[in-house]
């Protein structure tokens, strides 16, 4: 005898009609718009299925609405996101220690709001700004980028931020501005790594970009990750993200932006000029003197699949950025 079972769908799994219709209209809008870039869906809360015990970083009040209104990114085909606990628990931020677990362990007390930023050098709108005021006119968008560390590991990370080019435009750099220099907070009381004896790095940490690199549409000023505000260990309240360069170029917790005519003296280049160049473009053909850059471990790698992949020229962004370096000898300008 056949006994029919009750339909095995919980009411919670049924999509309410209003949502269903919304999705339909959204799809229609997208198709009609024809331009994903112009009208992507906003970053919905809960877009990322984070475990309940994950430590979240909602950010200051003034940022929360902006984060939620950010335009979402579809991601990179066949390259899944590196999970949240790894993005927020495994990175280099030497201001908090040399181990990759140190930033998460030691950065939680960093005061990131209010945050003051100095704009200096060859620009019309120099001065001290409150970060909130500096970012007020800008809408945020999500950017899912590869992040390749010079040490040979990489991640795929959903940042939220604004194109650096948009901010630069508002600051009105002069014709003399050939480079932008960024400086990280120097505060040994909050940053235990800056109190160390044997560090070879000089604080504060300084990074820089050529003006055309800074203005490139891929170059991001990130204020968030995974839909939340940036955790302090990832460079809160705002940091640079330059996806075609090794990770150390993407300077964190910025307190100073200076426009200059001279190439800035950047930290790693000053520390070991034969190992780290000013440009530091991801390049599988030019090795770090002590290790190969031909491959990378995409994290999380597991023991049964170490996830070793070939590193790509400009970290896979060659179509977008190779023209910036045409005619340059990338072996010399590594």
């Amino acid at each position: 005898m056949l006994i029919k079972k009750a339909v095995d769908i919980r009411s919670s799994e049924i999509t309410p009609e209003s949502v269903y219709r919304q999705r339909r209209s959204l799809i229609k809008a997208l198709v009609a718009g024809g331009a994903l870039a112009a009208a992507g869906p906003a970053l919905a809360l809960g877009r990322y299925d984070l475990s309940e015990d994950a430590k979240r970083y909602p950010g200051p009040d003034w940022l929360q609405g902006k984060l939620r209104a950010a335009k979402a990114d579809d991601g990179i085909p066949n390259e899944p996101l590196t999970p949240y606990p790894h993005v927020t628990g495994h990175n280099n931020f030497y201001e908090f220690g040399l181990d990759k677990q140190d930033p998460k362990a030691k950065a939680q007390g960093l005061v990131t709001d209010p945050w003051s930023v100095e704009v200096a050098g060859e620009a019309a709108k120099t001065g001290r700004y409150n970060l909130e005021d500096l970012l007020k006119p800008h809408a945020l968008e999500e950017r899912i980028y590869r992040m390749r560390c010079v040490e040979g590991w990489s991640m795929v990370i959903p940042w939220v931020g604004l194109p650096l080019a948009d901010l630069i435009k508002r600051l009105e750099p002069t014709a003399n501005a050939k480079y932008v220099e960024f400086t990280t907070l120097h505060d040994p009381a909050q940053m235990p790594g800056q109190r160390g004896f044997f560090s070879t790095l000089d604080w504060p940490y300084v990074e820089g970009l050529r003006m055309d690199e800074a203005r490139h549409p891929l170059t991001l000023l990130a204020v968030g990750v995974y839909g939340d505000a940036l955790p302090p260990q990832n460079g809160a309240p705002f940091r640079l993200v330059v996806p075609w360069k090794y990770g150390f170029k993407s300077i964190k917790s910025i307190v100073r932006i200076r426009f200059t005519e001279q190439m800035p003296a950047v930290t790693w280049n000053q520390t070991a000029p034969n190992e780290y160049g000013f440009y530091a473009n991801v390049n599988p053909n030019v090795d770090h003197p002590r290790w190969s850059q031909a491959t990378e471990r995409r994290l999380p790698s597991s023991l049964f699949s170490p996830n070793i992949i070939d590193t790509r020229m400009f970290n896979g962004y060659a179509d977008e950025v190779a023209h910036l370096y045409s005619g340059m000898d990338l072996r010399k300008w590594f």
Partner: protein, 203 residues
């Protein structure tokens, strides 16, 4: 009431108990590593964690092996001598696991990468030479080989001194910033080797 370790070694039961202790203790770091791996507690980059942990324990066991003679002479710990071979073999054991984990988890046994690393990377070359040097020392650590080589056995095993320097160099060349740890290991090794030089000069 208090039983010293040398007193413990006077009875067969005491010797056996202590042998087991000395045999099992060096396996603890490996056990901890395997446990973490099984529980998925090695973080985002387990390959790096495993390689680094095995490497640093190789160095520590090498230093412990080198500490046997000074401890015996300076502290009168005669009983320690009987564990020197075990510590030396554990050094080779951890060095081999370290090497295998690099080949497996970092290089994925890709012949092109292995060939490249072994020909182009100074710190890899130095580390590999140190491992190659350890192998004959391990092989000739048996009673039979000690007898067979006679006087030359000691000469062969002096190789451990250059090997220890290569191991330290291998470690130092990996550092990106922060030389505190390497400095500490360097000081320990200079004490261990310096003691031997001083001992020679006095005789």
């Amino acid at each position: 009431m208090v039983l010293t370790i040398s007193e413990l070694h006077r009875s067969a039961g005491g010797r056996r108990a202590f042998w087991w202790l000395m045999f099992l203790a060096p396996l603890l770091p490996l056990g901890a590593l395997v446990t973490s791996a099984v529980e998925g507690q090695l973080g985002a980059d387990p390959a790096q964690t495993i390689v680094t942990t095995l490497g640093i324990w190789t160095l520590r066991l090498l230093f412990l092996t080198l500490a046997v003679t000074p401890c015996r002479r300076l502290l009168g710990w005669l009983w320690l001598q009987r564990y020197r071979r075990m510590l030396g073999l554990y050094t080779l054991f951890y060095a081999t696991l370290h090497l295998l984990s690099v080949a497996t988890f970092i290089l994925g046994w890709r012949p092109d990468l292995i060939g490249y690393e072994l020909s182009e990377r100074p710190y890899i070359i130095v580390g590999f030479i140190a491992w190659v040097g350890l192998v004959p020392l391990g092989i000739t650590s048996t009673k039979g080989w000690i007898k067979r080589l006679g006087k030359r056995w000691q000469q062969l095993h002096y190789l451990i001194y250059p090997i220890s320097l290569l191991a330290l160099l291998h470690f130092a060349w990996l550092i990106r910033a922060g030389y505190g740890e390497v400095l500490a290991y360097g000081i320990i090794l200079s004490l261990l080797l310096g003691y031997r030089i001083a001992y020679r000069l006095r005789r």
